[in-house]
Amino acid sequence: MRAAVIVLPGSNCDHDAFYVLSQVLGVPTDLLWHEDVGAHGHTPLLQYDLIILPGGFSYGDYLRAGAIARFSPAILALSDYLARGCGLVLGICNGFQILTEAGLLPGALARNITRQFICQTVRLRVENADTPLTSALQTGEEIELPIAHDQGRYVVAPNGLAELKRNRQVLLTYAGENPNGSEEAIAGICDPKRRVFGLMPHPERNTELLLGNGDGLRLLRGLKQT
């Protein structure tokens, strides 16, 4: 297995994702500058089994979080990557925002209902363990992961929500308090084909016992096993 972490201008969890994948999970991983990928770049994405869009403030979150990044060469190349290969894409926090802006995942992430950035550890319920990302977990179990975002309120049109539920695309929901006012407390979803994943919580921030209970590692291990 080989993974790539896409570095966009303003990414700030790129090194974290790289460290966790390569050092904690032991997956050979490259940090890829977003312009070195795609039609004019020299690094084809197809050589990777997993593409991570890390957290951060790509393009300063200006306009809307992810709105400008979706036009980056690396993000534009994702459609081709998904059409031609069989690899997976995981967007964490800002990565999730980019995936919705790019139309690779349904819905949008609006400003938190509190109108404040929220950084805290939250409890999450696993809604569907039958996907590559959640395969190491059990449906219905609760895990702990940190969140750190200003625009994490998941919003989706009513028919879109029905479709998400029908396809069992909701992966994680906030258990207990819904910190950002997300629709149905949704914290993470996938596409109907279970190849594109978006999470507002940061699994990479809880993979070592020094920093937490390691639930993030249990989650990410699922990707390695598939």
Partner: protein
């Protein structure tokens, strides 16, 4: 040196006075130049000789601060201090204030404060890994109205810190916050940034610095383009805030944390590339590393940054103004030179390598322009096209102005001039009210819910404190923040402390206690204190009493650092924190960095296991002046009982040093299960905090004790918990070191904090849920 009297012309005097220069300084300028200064030259002197840049009123005293230790790689005088951890790792750190800009425009003022200190750390070639903030505001007085001016300021400052710090990806891992009306007109925003330096090839661990050298070498301006931001910010920082704040607004810069993040990555890439040796050029072996020096553009912009670099290198710099990328046109030479546009740095690189470095910044979407060269003549020469606009000796600019004539005078009643409430003497009472047995439950709940003590969660949850995945103990979770250093067993332990109430009572003690308190916080975690950075916040130094207090505070800082053997490596002085109505109390703030050799040996703050014994280690009694308790229950004036009063506690430095060494020994030998220093709120608040942090109750043999005993804030004390089997070893260690201690009780499985009478076994309790609720509500509604 008896200088001949130079007489500036009437025009120079008028123009110079407008820029804040004194007649004596103007005379010196004419003497240095041997002629009248031009407009641009006058601006150069005004900036370089401002209090903010030249430390003219403070540097004489700052020399008293001890700054030596075998670990010091870079002491005071650079953009930041650097302390070596081992052969491969060092930490750079510094405190910087952004008080005046935050008073005028809290959001942008605080945000650019973060940006500035981050660039200081970057200037040493270190990656910023943590931020801590020290904030002071007036009393919030939250009643029916949630839009008090104080809350508006607080919200703006917190939002600005969050905006910038979160986006730039540097975790805010700790801080402190005090409220007092003395800060109502002049809030304080001091920020500590810590960076990590890895060894770089042949350069090893040597930090970069703000230096230009090598005649013919290139000055590269990188980052954002230059606009009309914050012209005269440095001179502004050196003025009292008088009159309408609206009129000051154009001075405040706007930060762009997105660009700052790009600048961090690009600059670190340049530092890595720059650590390699230059390729021999035309057969001539160059023995210079590629990157010679770098400097952030802060107060005064290019006008102060370039002379500083030239002074360090013993060279001159010739600047071509038309080469500077501008954001707005037209700009006058004066505006270009003095612009404080954010997110800019200056690099000095060998001629021939400019393209190589420019490419790095262009890749990150930043500007990079060759704006000047190093010259042999030790002058700062400024040209626009062929026109010579300024030519000033570097030594004249960087050497600072003639020392100002500030007088020192101890006030009759210390603090009376600083805090008006002190003017009325404290009521003399043979049996002060606080010597009566405490109604401890009501008092404790009220203290925990006080804005000065309660949980800071509503603030720190707005800050990203977990990015960079190093935060092992974050805000609110311990006496100090603990960061792991990846690929090492180390824990880096960080704190920032300073209590202005103590400073008002006795500025010497304010300084000494700030050092001791910071050291206690590190030692409570089990760390060895390595170095200090100070933020000195005072009113107008031309006021003899303020200047006296400044000298006293420095002496206190110096004596404590000497006693505890911790060097000062960097710092910041902020004067003129006063309005027409009031002055801030002397507020020395200490940022301290410590090391845990084995992060797994860190000591938590909370009680761990039922049955563990709870000890107080340190002094049994002391003065309670300046305590949160007096302030809350006996009025603000009583909190500031003048220094003549025996109520004011004085830290005994030799004792403190013994205490801290003993605490470190206890941690290293694994004899204690938890430790928490006794500070604001006193003994019972500390015990409650340990109970809450560990989620464990405690039974304490403290029933019937006086308010002063339970809530007094005297110095040099810790609460620790000890497993019963370690009790003998702890007693032996403390006995050998002649340290007083007492067993106060034990940790219990029930979630109750109970006080038990020694004789009648009378039992009063509070449930931990009640304590938590009180603690959590302290700042409730402040950010709604």
């Amino acid at each position: 040196m008896p200088a001949k009297l130079a007489r500036p012309s009437a025009e120079t005097l008028a123009a110079g006075t407008r820029q804040g220069l004194t007649p004596a300084e103007l005379a010196r300028i004419v003497e240095i130049l041997g002629r009248e200064p031009g407009e641009l030259e006058l601006g150069l002197f005004a900036l370089n000789w401002s209090e903010h840049c030249s430390y003219k009123s403070s540097k004489h005293f700052l020399r008293k601060l001890p700054s030596e230790s075998p670990r010091v790689l870079q002491g005071p005088g650079e953009n930041a201090g650097v302390i070596q951890l081992d052969d491969e790792l060092a930490v750079a750190f510094k405190v910087e204030s952004h008080n005046h800009p935050s008073a005028v425009e809290p959001f942008n003022g605080a945000a650019t404060g973060i940006g500035g200190i981050i660039r200081d750390i970057l200037g040493m070639g270190a990656r910023p890994i943590a931020l801590l903030d020290s904030l002071r505001f007036g009393e919030p007085n939250v009643g029916a109205h949630r839009n008090t001016p104080v809350l508006d300021l607080l919200r703006g400052v917190v939002a600005g810190i969050a905006h910038y710090g979160n986006c730039v990806g540097v975790p805010t891992v700790g801080g402190e916050l005090y409220f007092d009306d003395a800060y109502a007109d002049d809030p304080l925003v001091n920020v500590l940034c810590v960076g990590l330096l890895h060894q770089r090839g042949e350069r090893g661990l040597q930090p970069y610095g703000a230096v230009a050298s090598g005649v013919g070498n290139v000055i590269l301006l990188v980052g954002a383009s230059t606009g009309r931001d914050g012209i005269h910010g440095a001179t502004f920082a050196s003025e009292e805030l008088v009159g309408e704040k609206e009129a000051k607004r154009p001075n405040v810069q706007v930060g762009d944390p997105f660009k700052a993040k790009l600048l961090i990555e690009a600059t670190l890439e340049a530092c890595n590339v720059g650590a390699r040796r230059a390729v021999p050029l035309r057969g001539q072996a160059q023995d210079l590393p590629l990157l010679i020096g770098l400097q952030d553009l802060g107060a005064g912009g290019l006008s102060t940054a370039l002379p500083e670099m030239a002074a360090r290198g013993g060279v001159g710099i010739e600047l071509q103004l038309e080469k500077i990328p501008l954001r707005t046109r037209p700009m006058t030479p004066y505006e270009i030179l003095l612009s404080e546009s954010q997110e800019r740095m200056v690099l000095c690189v060998p001629t021939g390598s400019e393209l190589r470095f420019s490419r790095i910044f262009h890749k990150w979407g930043l500007e990079a322009a060759v704006i000047g060269r190093v010259i042999a003549e030790k002058s700062f020469i400024i040209r626009q096209e062929q026109h010579l606009l300024a030519q000033v000796p570097i030594e004249g600019l960087a050497g600072g102005p003639p020392p100002p004539d500030c007088a020192l005078a101890a006030p009759d009643v210390v603090g009376a001039g600083l805090v008006p409430a002190l003017a009325s003497p404290a009521p003399a009472s043979p049996q002060p009210a606080w010597e009566k047995p405490a109604d401890w439950q009501a008092r404790l709940l009220a203290l925990l819910a006080a804005p000065g003590i309660g949980s800071r969660r509503p603030i720190y949850q707005q800050y990203d404190h977990t990015v960079q995945i190093n935060t092992v103990v974050g805000p609110g979770a311990g006496d100090a923040a603990v960061l792991r250093i990846k690929d090492t067993p180390y824990g880096l332990v960080l704190t920032i402390d300073g209590n202005g109430r103590y400073g008002a009572l006795d500025p010497y003690q304010g300084g000494a206690i700030a050092v001791c308190e910071a050291a206690r916080n590190l030692v409570a975690v089990g760390a060895e204190p390595l170095g200090i950075t100070d933020g000195l916040n005072f009113a107008d130094p031309n006021d003899p009493e303020v200047y006296w207090a400044f000298a006293q505070a420095i002496q206190g800082l110096a004596d404590a650092a000497q006693a505890l053997e911790i060097p000062f490596v960097s710092g910041n002085v902020s004067f003129y924190n006063q309005s027409v109505r009031r002055k801030i109390p002397p507020t020395p703030i200490v940022g301290m960095v410590g090391l845990l050799r084995d992060i797994n040996k860190r000591v938590p703050m909370g009680f761990q296991a039922p049955g563990d014994l709870i000890y107080r280690i340190g002094r049994a009694r002391g003065g309670i002046g300046g305590s949160e308790f007096l302030k809350l229950f006996y009025g603000r004036g009583e909190a500031f009982v003048p220094n003549a009063s025996p109520l004011l506690d004085k830290v005994e430095l030799a004792f403190e040093s013994r205490l801290l060494q003993a605490m470190r020994a206890l941690a290293q030998q694994g004899l204690i299960r938890s430790a928490h220093d006794i500070s604001e709120g006193g003994l019972l608040v500390t015990l409650a905090e340990s109970a809450l942090a560990g989620g464990r109750g405690a039974e304490l043999d403290l029933d019937g004790r006086s308010e002063a005993e339970l809530f007094g804030e005297w110095q040099s004390r810790f609460i620790v918990s000890v497993a019963p089997e370690a009790a003998d070893s702890v007693a032996r260690l403390l006995g050998e070191r002649e340290l007083p201690w007492a067993c106060l009780g034990r940790v219990v499985p029930e979630p109750l904090l109970s006080l038990i009478g020694a004789h009648d076994h009378h039992h009063t309790s509070l449930h931990l849920d009640e304590l938590r609720q009180a603690h959590e509500q302290a700042l409730e509604g402040f950010f709604a």
